[in-house]
C-alpha cells in the first residue's frame, strides 16, 4: 500500500477545521497521493526521467447553500486554512443556489475492487530492464528504425471523508506503456497498453505484433476523397468513443456542448454498440469504489444497443433531471471513469471482410468539433493507415482525414470485434477497453 502520512494528517486537520466553521453544511473531502515515475525516450535513448510525488486535496464545501469547489496542492496547513477562509469570503458575495442539493447522508460500505495494487510493478529498476529488453527486440527487426514514447509507473492512494458520514480509501497501481515505432519508408506505428501490473501489458507479444504489422504493409497507395467503409482500431475507438461518452455528461448537455440533448431513450448509435462505464471491475486500472461526492460507483450502461440510456450525473445535476447520482462526480463536471465497449462476435479478419473495400485506421489524434451540439467533427489518422481490398490489406496510405458527424458515424457501425484491449494513449480521453469497429460510409478527405 502507498504510505500517506502527510495526506492523512492534512485530511484530518482540514476536515476538523471545516466542521468548526459556521455555515458549512456539507463537506466532501478527497485526498490523493500520487507517486509517479515516467521514463521518456526517443531515438532509442532516454530523454529524461520524471519523478512526481504529490499529495493534494479536492473538496466540495456546501456553505450557506452555495457549492464551493477547490483543489489545494500543498501540505502547508496554514496555507490551506487561509485558502479556505478566502474561499468562504468569496462565497459571501455570490448568490445562493435556489436548487442547492445537500450531500447524501449515511454510512456506505464501499466495495474495493480486488487485485488493483502491485508494488513490484512500480520498480524503476525493473522498468528500465524491461525497456532495455523491449528496445533490443524491436530494433532487431529490420523494419523498425527507432522508437519513442513513455513508460509510466503510477501509485495512487485516494481517501474520501464526507460530512454525510462516509469514509473510504484505496490504493492502486497503474503501469502504462506508450511506444511509437518509426518504421522504414517514414511510417510509424503506435502501441498503447495499460494495466495494474506489468504482466497486464503483455509486453512479450509486442515484437511479434510489430512484425506482423510491418510484413502486411505492402506498397504505398493513394485514395481520393469520398465515403469509405472503415475499420477503426481499439485505440481509435477509445478516442472517438471517449468523446462520445463524455457527451453524456449532464454538464455538457446543459451548456449545449453535446449532441445528446433530449436524446435519452433514442437511438444514438447502431444497435451493435453497447458502451458502459465500470470502475467496479477487479484487477483493472479504472478501479474506483467511490466518486468525489461519496456516491458508490457502479456499472453504468451509457449506450445500450444503440440507445442512450442515461446522462452521467453528480448529485447536483441528478436533482435537476429528477434522478439519482450515477456516481460520476466531478463536483462541476460529471465525467466517465472508463469507456468499455461490449465485444462483438467477429475477428479482425471478419471485420475486414465485412467492409470489403475501404480503410483500416490504427490511430488518430486532434479530434476537433465544428459543432458539439450536432457532432460535426474531423480527426487525423496518424501512424499506419491501410487500404483494404476484398477484405485484405492491400497497401498503406497517408495524409487522410476523417470528416463526418460522430452520431451518424456510430449509427453506421457494421460489426464489432470480439477482441477488446485496454488502451490509454496520450490523446485518449479516458482509460478504455475497446474493440475494432467496422463502420460504413465514413467521410474521408485527402490533402
Amino acid at each position: 500500500m502507498i504510505p500517506s502520512v502527510y495526506l492523512d494528517s492534512l485530511m484530518e486537520s482540514t476536515y476538523r477545521y471545516l466542521t468548526k466553521i459556521e455555515g458549512v453544511d456539507d463537506i466532501a473531502l478527497v485526498g490523493t497521493r500520487v507517486r509517479k515515475s515516467i521514463i521518456k525516450f526517443y531515438r532509442n535513448s532516454l530523454s529524461s526521467i520524471d519523478n512526481i510525488d504529490t499529495s493534494f486535496l479536492k473538496f466540495l464545501i456546501g456553505y450557506k447553500r452555495r457549492r464551493l469547489v477547490t483543489t489545494i496542492n500543498t501540505i502547508n496547513e496554514d496555507q490551506i486554512k487561509s485558502h479556505i477562509e478566502s474561499l468562504l469570503m468569496a462565497a459571501e458575495n455570490i448568490p445562493e443556489l435556489e436548487d442547492y442539493v445537500p450531500l447524501p447522508k449515511g454510512y456506505t460500505d464501499y466495495i474495493e475492487p480486488r487485485g488493483i495494487y502491485d508494488a513490484e510493478s512500480l520498480s524503476i529498476e525493473n522498468a528500465v530492464e524491461t525497456l532495455d529488453n523491449l528496445f533490443s527486440e524491436l530494433l532487431n527487426q529490420s523494419s523498425v528504425e527507432r522508437v519513442a514514447g513513455t513508460y509510466e509507473l503510477i501509485g495512487v492512494k485516494r481517501t474520501l471523508k464526507t460530512s454525510g458520514g462516509r469514509y473510504g480509501e484505496y490504493s492502486k497501481s497503474i503501469v502504462r506503456l506508450n511506444i511509437r515505432c518509426f518504421l522504414e519508408r517514414g511510417l510509424t506505428y503506435q502501441i498503447s497498453r495499460i494495466g495494474v501490473k506489468v504482466k497486464d501489458l503483455k509486453l512479450d507479444e509486442i515484437p511479434e505484433h510489430i512484425s506482423e504489422i510491418t510484413s502486411a504493409m505492402g506498397s504505398k497507395g493513394r485514395v481520393t476523397p469520398g465515403k469509405y467503409n472503415i475499420v477503426i482500431s481499439p485505440l481509435v475507438s477509445a478516442n472517438l468513443l471517449g468523446y462520445y461518452t463524455r457527451f453524456s455528461s449532464a454538464y455538457y448537455v446543459d451548456i449545449g456542448l453535446s449532441p445528446f440533448i433530449d436524446k435519452i431513450g433514442e437511438l444514438v448509435a447502431s444497435e451493435e454498440l453497447t458502451v458502459y462505464d465500470d470502475p467496479t471491475l477487479d484487477e483493472t486500472p479504472v478501479a474506483k469504489p467511490f466518486d468525489n461526492e461519496g456516491t458508490p460507483t457502479s456499472r453504468t450502461i451509457v449506450i445500450d444497443k444503440g440507445r442512450l440510456k442515461t446522462y452521467l450525473h453528480n448529485i447536483y445535476t441528478a436533482k435537476k433531471y429528477g434522478v439519482k447520482s450515477t456516481g460520476h462526480a466531478g463536483y462541476i463536471v460529471p465525467e466517465p471513469h472508463s469507456v468499455i465497449v461490449n465485444p462483438g462476435n467477429s475477428s479482425l479478419n471478419d471485420l475486414l471482410e465485412d467492409i470489403g473495400n475501404g480503410l483500416l485506421i490504427t490511430n488518430v489524434w486532434y479530434t476537433r468539433f465544428q459543432n458539439y451540439r450536432i457532432g460535426d467533427f474531423s480527426t487525423l489518422p496518424r501512424d499506419l493507415i491501410f487500404i483494404i481490398k476484398n477484405g485484405d490489406i492491400h497497401a498503406y496510405t497517408y495524409n487522410i482525414r476523417i470528416s463526418d458527424n460522430l452520431v451518424n458515424m456510430f449509427k453506421n457501425i457494421i460489426s464489432i470485434s470480439k477482441d477488446v484491449q485496454w488502451v490509454y494513449w496520450w490523446d485518449t480521453p479516458y482509460i478504455s477497453r475497446t474493440p475494432y469497429i467496422a463502420i460504413k460510409e465514413v467521410g474521408i478527405t485527402v490533402v
Partner: protein, 477 residues
C-alpha cells in the same frame, strides 16, 4: 528553512552527487474561475498548487523530481530520488545529454496590476460576466433555442528559479481571461462558437484588450450570419483570413514545427515531430510575405515572461524572415545540440512538470494593407474571419481550418455569409500562397497542449489579416 535556503540545499546536495547541473524551481499556481451557465452561477472554483521541482544532469542523464513537501527532509528526499532515478536509468542512454550554459541572473520581476484581482469583490467580478451574459441573452433572444456559458478566470504563477550556474530569478505573472460559448439551434440548423480572450495583468486587461466589446461584436456577427448562411463555394480561390485564423495558422504550422525538441524527436511518441530537419536554417518554406515571430516580452500578452524556467533571458524570436527559416525555439538542451544560444523558450505549467520548449505569443508580423485593400482585388473568394474546428498532423504538414464567421467575396466586396468553408492544405501550399498582410493585429488567448504528462500553457494566438492566393477550399461533407 527559507525558500532560498531550500534552493541552496537542493543545488548543493545535487552537486555533492557530482551532478553536472542542478536546478530548483519553486512554483505556486493560484486560479479562480466564476462560470455562469445559462445565466446562473452554479459553482465557484478555486485552485492552489505549491511545490518545487529539482532537475539534475548526471552523467548525461536528465532527471526531474518534484514534491510539495517544503521541508529540509522533503528537499533531501526529492534530490535523492532524482539522483537515484538518473543512476538507475543510465543503461537507457545512447546519447548523453548536455546543456547550454547561460550566464547567471539575479532578477526579481512582476507584472503590475492596476486593478488587482484580490481588490475587487466577488460581487463586482460576478457583475462583469453577468452584464455580459445579459447582453448576450438579449442579442440571441430572437432565436427559438440557444444555450450559453461565460467564465471569468484568473491565474497567477509565482516562481523562484535557482540553478547551479548561480541564477536566482523570482517572478509573479497574473493572467485574467474571459471564456464564452454560445450555441444557437433553430429549424434543424445550429451554429456554435467558443473563444477565450485575455492577457497578463490585473482586471484592467478586460478594458485594455476591449474584451467585452469584442465578445459582443462576435455575438452580433453570429446573430447576423446564422440564418443567412449559404453553401460555401468549392475549389481554388483567393482566401483572406482574419486574425483568429492567422493566429492558429502561425501557431500550428510554424510555431510547433519550430520547437527544436520536436525536430530532435523528443516529442515523437506523443505530440509528434516536425517537417523541419536538423539543417533547416535558411530553408525557404513560404513566400517572402511569411514573417513569423514568437515574442514572450510583449506587455499584457497571454504568454508573457522575461526569463524562462531554465533561467535564460527571454527575447523576441524571428522564426521566419521573408519565407526563410531564421531561428528555432530552443531550451538549454536543444541549444547545446544545435550549437547555438538558448533563446529562452522553456516553460512548465506547475511545479511537478519538467520545463519543455513552448511557444509564447506567436504571430505573423503585420504588413501594410487595410482590410479593404486586401479584399479589393479578390475577384471571387472568401473572407474567413473565425473558425471552430481545426487540426494538423504530427509533422505539421496536413492541416485544416473550418471557418465559422465566413463570407463570399465578389469583386472585392463582401456579399453573403457562407457555411463552414474548409481550408484543408499542406503547409507548403499555404505558406507559398501568402501574398499580403494587413496592418491590423489582434490576439486571442489559447491553452497550448504538449508534453508527457500534458502541460496546457497560456499563449497568445493572433496576428494580422492575411491574404492567400489560389488555395483549395472545400466544404464539410
Amino acid at each position: 528553512m527559507s525558500l532560498e535556503d531550500l534552493a541552496k540545499l537542493a543545488i548543493d546536495r545535487s552537486l555533492e552527487y557530482d551532478a553536472d547541473y542542478a536546478e530548483f524551481r519553486h512554483h505556486v499556481v493560484e486560479e479562480e474561475v466564476l462560470t455562469l451557465r445559462n445565466g446562473v452561477l452554479k459553482t465557484f472554483k478555486k485552485v492552489y498548487s505549491e511545490g518545487y521541482g529539482v532537475r539534475v544532469l548526471l552523467n548525461g542523464v536528465l532527471s526531474f523530481s518534484s514534491s510539495n513537501i517544503l521541508t529540509e527532509s522533503g528537499v533531501v528526499d526529492t534530490v535523492d530520488r532524482a539522483i537515484k532515478s538518473a543512476k538507475a536509468s543510465e543503461s537507457l542512454i545512447n546519447r548523453k545529454i548536455s546543456l547550454y550554459e547561460e550566464e547567471s541572473h539575479e532578477v526579481k520581476y512582476l507584472v503590475a496590476e492596476s486593478r488587482k484581482w484580490e481588490n475587487l469583490s466577488y460581487k463586482d467580478k460576478l457583475d462583469i460576466i453577468k452584464g455580459l451574459d445579459e447582453e448576450i441573452k438579449d442579442r440571441l433572444s430572437i432565436f427559438t433555442s440557444f444555450t450559453r456559458f461565460i467564465s471569468l478566470g484568473w491565474r497567477r504563477d509565482t516562481k523562484v528559479i535557482a540553478n547551479s550556474l548561480g541564477s536566482y530569478i523570482q517572478s509573479t505573472i497574473p493572467l485574467v481571461w474571459i471564456k464564452f460559448g454560445v450555441t444557437i439551434t433553430e429549424a434543424g440548423d445550429s451554429i456554435q462558437k467558443i473563444s477565450r480572450l485575455g492577457g497578463s495583468g490585473g482586471l484592467e486587461v478586460i478594458n485594455n484588450l476591449k474584451i467585452e466589446k469584442r465578445i459582443l461584436e462576435c455575438i452580433n456577427e453570429l446573430k447576423s450570419i446564422f440564418r443567412r448562411r449559404k453553401p460555401s463555394p468549392r475549389g481554388k480561390m483567393d482566401v483572406v483570413v482574419g486574425s483568429e485564423v492567422s493566429g492558429i495558422i502561425a501557431h500550428e504550422c510554424i510555431g510547433h514545427p519550430f520547437e527544436a525538441d520536436r525536430i530532435l524527436g523528443r516529442e515523437g511518441g506523443q505530440a509528434g515531430e516536425s517537417y523541419l530537419g536538423y539543417k533547416c536554417i535558411g530553408r525557404q518554406i513560404g513566400s517572402e510575405e511569411v514573417n513569423v515571430s514568437d515574442d514572450p516580452t510583449m506587455p499584457m500578452s497571454g504568454g508573457y515572461y522575461l526569463f524562462d524556467d531554465e533561467g535564460v533571458k527571454a527575447r523576441k524570436k524571428r522564426l521566419v524572415v521573408e519565407g526563410r527559416v531564421n531561428e528555432l525555439l530552443h531550451n538549454r538542451e536543444t541549444a547545446a545540440f544545435f550549437q547555438v544560444d538558448s533563446n529562452g523558450s522553456a516553460r512548465s505549467t506547475s511545479y511537478d512538470r519538467e520545463p519543455i520548449i513552448r511557444m509564447s505569443n506567436t504571430f505573423f508580423e503585420p504588413g501594410d494593407y487595410s482590410l479593404n485593400e486586401l479584399l479589393e482585388d479578390v475577384h471571387s473568394g472568401l473572407y474567413i474571419k473565425g473558425y471552430m474546428e481545426w487540426n494538423i498532423d504530427d509533422r505539421r504538414i496536413n492541416q485544416r481550418y473550418t471557418g465559422l464567421e465566413a463570407y463570399f467575396i465578389e469583386n472585392g466586396e463582401i456579399k453573403y455569409p457562407v457555411k463552414n468553408p474548409v481550408l484543408e492544405v499542406t503547409t507548403e501550399q499555404l505558406l507559398k500562397s501568402l501574398d499580403a498582410r494587413g496592418r491590423d493585429i489582434t490576439f486571442y488567448l489559447g491553452l497550448c497542449g504538449k508534453g508527457a504528462p500534458p502541460q496546457a500553457i497560456p499563449v497568445w494566438l493572433g496576428g494580422p489579416t492575411l491574404r492567400f492566393r489560389n488555395i483549395n477550399v472545400g466544404r464539410r461533407v
